[in-house]
């Protein structure tokens, strides 16, 4: 699927048309602002239209004969596995952050990432996780008094 730039251009063209169409639809309902010469919806509509036209142009161009096609440098099967694993780890990290707290999730995320992707012993992963968390705690929470999500284990 989408092995070449030709296919990629087609797909991105479709995506941009969809985004542009959504923007157009959402822009028509924008209310008029009080006393302005430029209606607040003018630019969003113009940009939505540009995206639709540009997306269509990408599709047309991708179908033309002159198009010099080129393979997209996708990862191999193992690469994809890693890719999904990394994205899933990051998404889990973000999803659990509020419930478990920033410190806890960061520790788990860093340790898990290093353990999964690195060829290290588990203690190396745990040590990095611990070290980072300690650094973050001291610098951001203690010194800069930043309000990071605390979660259950409120520090």
């Amino acid at each position: 699927m989408l092995k070449t730039l030709r296919a990629g251009d087609g797909a991105s063209g479709v995506f941009l048309i969809v985004v542009g169409a959504i923007a157009l639809a959402a822009s028509t309902t924008i209310a008029a602002g009080a006393g302005g010469r430029l209606h607040p919806r003018t630019l969003p509509i113009a940009i939505g239209a540009l995206l639709v036209l540009g997306g269509a142009w990408l599709i047309v161009r991708a179908r033309s004969k002159q198009y010099q096609d080129q393979a997209i440098d996708w990862p191999d099967r193992a690469g994809w596995r890693n890719w999904y694993a990394a994205l899933a780890l990051m998404a889990l990290y973000a999803a659990l952050m509020q419930a478990l707290g920033f410190i806890t999730t960061t520790f788990i995320f860093i340790a898990a990432f290093i353990w999964y992707f690195g060829k290290f012993k588990p203690w190396v992963a745990l040590a990095w996780g611990f070290g980072t968390v300690a650094f973050i705690y001291l610098l951001f929470i203690r010194l800069l008094q930043m309000e990071l999500p605390a979660g259950w284990l409120a520090f």
Partner: protein, 496 residues
């Protein structure tokens, strides 16, 4: 006057606080997402304990110090902490991958020093002369400036012009989400209160660069960002010889742009990148690791930062959010920067200006040895560096507004950035457009109100007409080159 200023800036307490400010500024600059604005605001309560000179010296040092540090992560791990270091990342990261991370960081520090000093010299000797520049810019001029900025999309897109324009349109669209900056009407929020605040461009940048970089790294068999090449630490004479002209040129450009309130270092650094590409003897190397590109960008954003002190000191007009907080610091002491302060409190003002010379020297001394420390970061194997990048990116994004939404935006744009690189869409135009969108729309609306709906206003005022003509020339030339070489506009994209 300057001599007296130096005498008082060199007093132990003032030196100490300048140093603290420089260290804090470097730190704030290095940590992605954490900007000088928040750091200075956090220090405002300190003003109740300190006399004005050391407190303001420290706050100012944080501001210009952050510009030194901002390039570090951009060069080493392709994470520009703020929009102004996006063009740094383009070439800086390439150089780092070629094993030239150390010299690049060194050049960046030296450039920051040169440009920072140009800015302070300008501030010292020409502030009264140049202060009128700030007032010459009304809405039509800002629109013309933003339009000129947008025309840079053409050169930033390289050969992928259509894709660059579409990326920019997408960037503009994201910037439109939220309440209209002038009329406060909700746009593209789909009824979601969270979206009313709009989407900040910092999480977008972090996603496009940092997270997509992580995704690119894990897909190929896991490796370090730098494998086992020999690493140089400091720039050679050759590097200096190649970049000194770029430093000076962009230093002057940056300083002049800094005189215009509201022209952020982000805009200037893109302009400097483009300008240097036109001056350079090897424009084809831009985007693939040109040292002079890094020098141009760093010179521009540092000098813009110092240039912003001119309207601040001469009229009390802050150029951006960080200087607005600094102005707040002045006000906590009941001081109002402006012509009156120059005559009533010259001693204080000159002490602050003198401290900026000293601060720039401190920053250079501080940053050059740090280069060795930072450059080692590139040797950390990716499985360790990757999660650290993610964690610090998330902190940075979250700290902007303390909202989970910003973290999800980082992730979303991480995937978007990844796909853009695979499909050959240049990323830089999108960032540039997102940065310029507000200025463009606000100024357009204001100009049309003033002219009662006539677009002629942009062509009847001297400054704006020059900008408009230059912009139209760039656009026409870009389109012409594109048409003349049709084969080029098909595949092969520059990987910006």
């Amino acid at each position: 006057m300057l001599a007296q200023g130096f005498a008082s800036a060199l007093s132990p307490i003032n030196l100490l606080f300048a140093l603290i400010g420089c260290i804090a500024g470097t730190l704030v600059g290095v940590l992605p997402g954490l900007g000088p604005t928040a750091a200075i605001a956090m220090l405002l309560p300190l003003t109740t304990m300190l006399p004005p000179a050391p407190a303001i010296i420290m706050m100012a040092a944080i501001y210009y110090g952050a510009m030194y540090g901002g390039s570090t992560t951009a060069i080493l791990v392709n994470i520009p902490g703020e929009a102004s270091s996006v063009p740094t990342a383009i070439d800086g990261y390439q150089l780092n991958q070629q094993g030239r991370g150390g010299p690049t960081l060194g050049i960046s520090a030296i450039t920051s020093f040169v440009a920072g000093t140009i800015g302070v010299v300008g501030l010292t000797f020409f502030a009264p002369l140049l202060s009128q520049v700030a007032l010459a810019f009304g809405p039509p001029e800002y629109f013309a400036l933003a339009f000129l900025g947008l025309s840079l999309i053409i050169s930033l897109s390289g050969r992928a012009l259509v894709k660059g324009i579409l990326a920019a349109a997408f960037g503009l669209l994201t910037a439109m989400i939220g309440l209209d900056p002038l009329t406060g009407v909700a746009r593209l929020t789909f009824g979601q209160p969270l979206l009313m605040a709009g989407i900040e461009f910092v999480p977008i940048i972090m996603g496009l660069f940092a997270i997509s970089e992580v995704l690119l790294n894990v897909e190929s068999s896991v490796r370090g960002i730098l494998s086992d090449q020999k690493i140089e630490w400091l720039p050679s004479w050759q590097d200096l010889k190649e970049t000194w002209a770029a430093m000076l040129r962009s230093g002057f450009l940056g300083f002049f742009m800094g005189l215009i309130p509201g022209c952020s270092p982000a805009v200037t650094s893109f302009m400097a990148y483009d300008m240097e590409k036109r001056f350079s003897k090897h424009p084809e190397k831009f985007g693939k690791g040109a040292m002079d590109a890094v020098a141009a960008v760093e010179g521009a954003n540092n000098a813009t930062a110092s240039g912003g002190f001119v309207p601040l000191f001469s009229f009390g007009i802050p150029s951006g959010p960080a200087l607005a907080v600094l102005l707040g610091g002045f006000m906590m002491y009941g001081l109002q920067p402006g012509p009156r302060l120059m005559t009533e409190q010259p001693q204080l003002l000159w002490t602050i200006i003198a401290s900026m010379y000293i601060g720039n020297v401190m920053l250079l001394i501080l940053n050059l040895p740090l280069v060795g420390v930072w450059a080692r970061m590139a040797l950390i194997p990716f499985p360790i560096l990757g999660p650290l990048i993610v964690a610090f990116t998330f902190i940075g994004a979250y700290s902007l507004r303390f909202q989970m939404l910003d973290i999800w935006i980082v992730l979303l744009f991480g995937v978007i950035g990844y796909l853009m690189r695979k499909f050959g869409f240049p990323v830089a135009p999108m960032v540039l457009a997102a940065v310029l969108a507000k200025m463009l729309e606000t100024a357009l609306m204001q100009s049309l109100v003033i002219s009662q709906g006539s677009a002629l206003i942009f062509f009847t005022r001297p400054i704006s007409v020059v900008f408009m003509i230059v912009a139209l020339f760039f656009i026409a030339r870009g389109v012409w080159l594109q048409i003349r070489t049709p084969a080029a506009n098909i595949a092969l994209e520059s990987d910006v």
